[in-house]
């Protein structure tokens, strides 16, 4: 049995098992993406078909190895992935790994901004709603949560643009920074491509303000969507734990209501909340694609749309695969947090 190779401590054993689970998860996703995208034909024809003669296409296919058996290609692709080689885009010849680093930084920045919004809005409102169950406060918060869920990010983005950009003129409609600022920030060393970090490194307040002003609307659009999910999640789980026996037991020993909620109900509710939140962070990457397209935020999602429209499926496959890895790693991180929150996992 595999029992022997596992560590003795339950916590380490748990983490080892979880870590080991990343491998099949990533493998499954990579495989699914690879075969789904290849089932219809080779990427060269898709990208360049019509623009090159059949002979030229065949030559390019042979050069890229797309004429060999699909299984060979698959294994070779896996091998290259292991070395961090995601291939080269067909249309603009960029290294995909370079795209991942440069544009990935932009996506990371957007995601962090959005998470800040989601937590700042979602957590307090969710708790408030649970505290005032079925009263006016609860109902209005729930309607808000459903509304931000029901509005697609790009529609919310469009509304924000209409209001703050074209009507009020307070905020820039798109991009990550004004062209002049972006140009200036190119000279920062070390350049992180995370605009706000670059701006701080550059050290000009005007630049920092400009970068922040550009971030507000995308962060709101993506963050509010996630906040809606957080509100519902926290409310339901808090209501659930508020009915637990240990909550009544705590009340019966004279613990004040505020403490009962804070120390018992919320802490216990965190266990399921953390799990779903982790999944939600992965889902945010999907929302990021739409947000980035809406605000021309040059992150991975923006690039993905760009390559999709250009039918550059090598690039698309690379980016999607990278996102799969991020998803798997995120879920592992969530497992670690879960172990910190829930002693039943630790011991």
């Amino acid at each position: 049995m595999a029992v022997r190779i596992l560590p003795r401590s339950p916590l380490l054993r748990y983490l080892a098992v979880r870590l080991a689970l990343i491998i099949p998860t990533v493998l499954i996703l990579v495989t699914v993406v690879f075969f789904f995208m290849r089932v219809v034909g080779d990427p060269i024809t898709a990208a360049l078909g019509g623009r090159l003669s059949p002979d030229q296409l065949a030559a390019r296919r042979a050069a890229a190895g797309f004429d060999r058996p699909i299984l060979n290609q698959y294994l070779e692709y896996l091998g290259r992935l292991l070395h961090g080689d995601f291939g080269t885009a067909l249309t603009d010849r960029r290294q995909i790994s370079e795209v991942l680093v440069t544009n990935g930084a932009a996506t990371l920045e957007l995601t962090v901004w959005a998470l800040i919004v989601a937590f700042a809005v979602g957590v307090p409102l969710g708790r408030l709603a649970a505290r005032h169950r079925d009263r006016l406060g609860d109902v209005s918060i729930r309607v808000f949560a459903i509304l931000v869920y029901a509005a697609p990010v790009f529609f919310l983005g469009l509304l924000l643009k209409l209001l703050f950009s074209s009507t009020l003129g307070w905020l820039p409609a798109s991009g990550r920074a004004a062209p002049a600022v972006a140009l200036e920030l190119q000279n920062v060393t070390p350049r992180t491509n995370i605009m706000i970090v670059d701006a701080i490194l550059y050290g000009d307040t005007g630049n920092i303000v400009d970068v922040l002003r550009h971030a507000i609307m995308p962060a709101l659009a993506l963050g509010l969507l996630t906040a809606g999910v957080f509100i519902r999640l926290i409310r339901i789980n808090l209501l659930e734990t508020m009915r637990a026996d240990y909550v009544m037991a705590a009340r019966a020993r004279g613990v004040s209501e505020a403490k009962v909620v804070r120390k018992h109900a919320f802490r216990n509710a965190l266990v399921p909340i953390v799990t779903v939140m982790g999944m939600q962070i992965a889902m945010m990457l999907g929302g990021a694609i739409l947000t980035e397209t809406t605000f021309e935020w040059q992150g991975l999602g923006y690039m993905l749309t760009h390559y999709l429209l250009a039918r550059d499926f090598v690039a698309v496959q690379g980016i999607v695969t990278a996102i799969a890895v991020v998803v798997a790693v995120t879920s592992f991180l969530i497992d670690i947090i879960n172990a910190l929150v829930d002693p039943r996992v630790r011991y």
Binding site: Y246, M248, R251, A252, R253, G254, V255, N268, V341, P343
Partner: protein, 602 residues
Amino acid sequence: MSADALAGPGKAERVLRLARLSVSFASDAGAVRAVREAGFEVRPGEIVAVVGESGSGKTVTLRALLGLLPSTATVTGSATLDGEELTSLRGEAMRQIRGRRIAMIFQEPATSLDPVRTVGWQVCEALHAHAKISRRAAKARAVELLELVGIPDAAKRVRSYPHQLSGGQKQRVMIAIAIACDPEIIVADEPTTALDVTVQAAILDLLRDLRDRLGTAIVLITHNMGVVADLADRVVVMYQGRVVEQAPVAQLFAAPVHPYTRRLLAAVPHLGQGRSADVDGAATVAGAATVAGAATPSAEVHDRARTGPLVAASNPAAAPSAAGPALGVQNLVVDFPGHLGSPNVRAVDDVSFSIAAGSVLGLVGESGSGKTTVGRCAVGLVPATQGRIEVFGTDLAHASAGTMRDLRRRFGFVFQDPASSLNPRASVASCISEPLLVHKIGSDASRRARVIELLDAVELPATYAARYPHELSGGQRQRVSLARALVLGPDLLVADEPTSALDVSVQATVLDLFRDLQQEMGFACLFISHDLAVVDLVAHDVAVMCDGKLVEVGTTAEVLGHPQHPYTRALLAAVPVPDPAEQAVRRKARAQLLASRMGGGF
């Protein structure tokens, strides 16, 4: 520490007094009155038992004292503690009462402790709630309290999480939390219902000890008349939200006044008054139960039959069968795979016994003893890891699919939980007739007739055929379960705790029915139960399991009357009987038994 409480009998004005207390719940169909003008008193240092069956309002009454009812509840009438009205207290004023003056212990220790906090943290929380006390002092006090309630190695245990403790230990922690602030009254809501009988006895001892040492009054909510007889000074009987009778414990048991109390007491099975008292077991006819596997008799088993075939109480309805025992279990071992990375769990360890055609074997043991697994193994729900199971002489492990099908026609199974043992989406008729359908027996009409016949046999009206399980009461559902198990006219019935989810009075009627049907139809039965008194009523023979091993087997009279194995003795001694005088004697005997075992163990 509790000078106040010990101040002596002179200060009798310290009292909890309920007067015309009513509670109703708002619901879709209007107000439902759960408690109707209940009234009783609790004096210092007194143990008052509030008894009643489901829906009697006993829990609601006492939760109302601490304002722990849901917001749909309306409380009227009065409940005073030293003259202070409790029902009108809100917020901080009520918080001052909770835990400091009236503390509470709940039924389920497993869910009443916060799983993500250490037990020490939770005891400290109770201390901090009512006293300005430093963290260090609180921690030291927490260790003291845990020691006081008998948690071994308390200094280390304060850092444990609830899931690392056993059920009995968890309940001890709950008690430690309850006494943390020296309350005048502890309300204990079914404190031992979720626990095994030996653990129950220990917890009851602890409660009695705390009352004696700290002078705390205890209000004990329970349905178990044995527990009442063991612990209570005075008894309040509740029925349909009303207090129907209150009396000192001896008087209540000796001369119950209200008809409901009389009914309730009559329905309680009394250990030692069932089959164990019928005959002296050393007599009579056919070999009903023998310890099989004579080749490798388990050393632990107190085999009364080593010198020859075991003689057991006979069952006149059953003719001795030539085909051998209805169920033969030989050296049965069942392992369950452990969780990822942990070793397998041995649920059943080398168990052998047999049941003769037409006789009833009671299989008893506490939770985790493996008795349920044995039952599930016997009908092929769980595969045996080692050993043989023979049903009517056929080895289950090697039976072909066809033989197995034929065999299945010959057994029935009754489950513990009447709520989940019937498919909620199927009518009573289709539940009962399913075995007929599966085995393609009869026509639609004959099946319908058979359903009616069985409904009649389990004493339910024929109109019930069209009903759905959720429309039935627990006892009615268990009757339907029994009908389904008997529809094929089985020769072997396995009943797994068939009455333990039922109220006492309902249990009595279902047990009566079971006995009648068994006499009439003459099926053999493996009757699994944790309740020795119930087994005493129905079983011809008894087998006792402990930690997966069979420790003793014999006739009911022998095993329950003259137990040989120390575990059986401990188990028997721990059962509280519903008779205060007898129970007082038994309690002393148990204390001696425990004292004599100190150091030795088994």
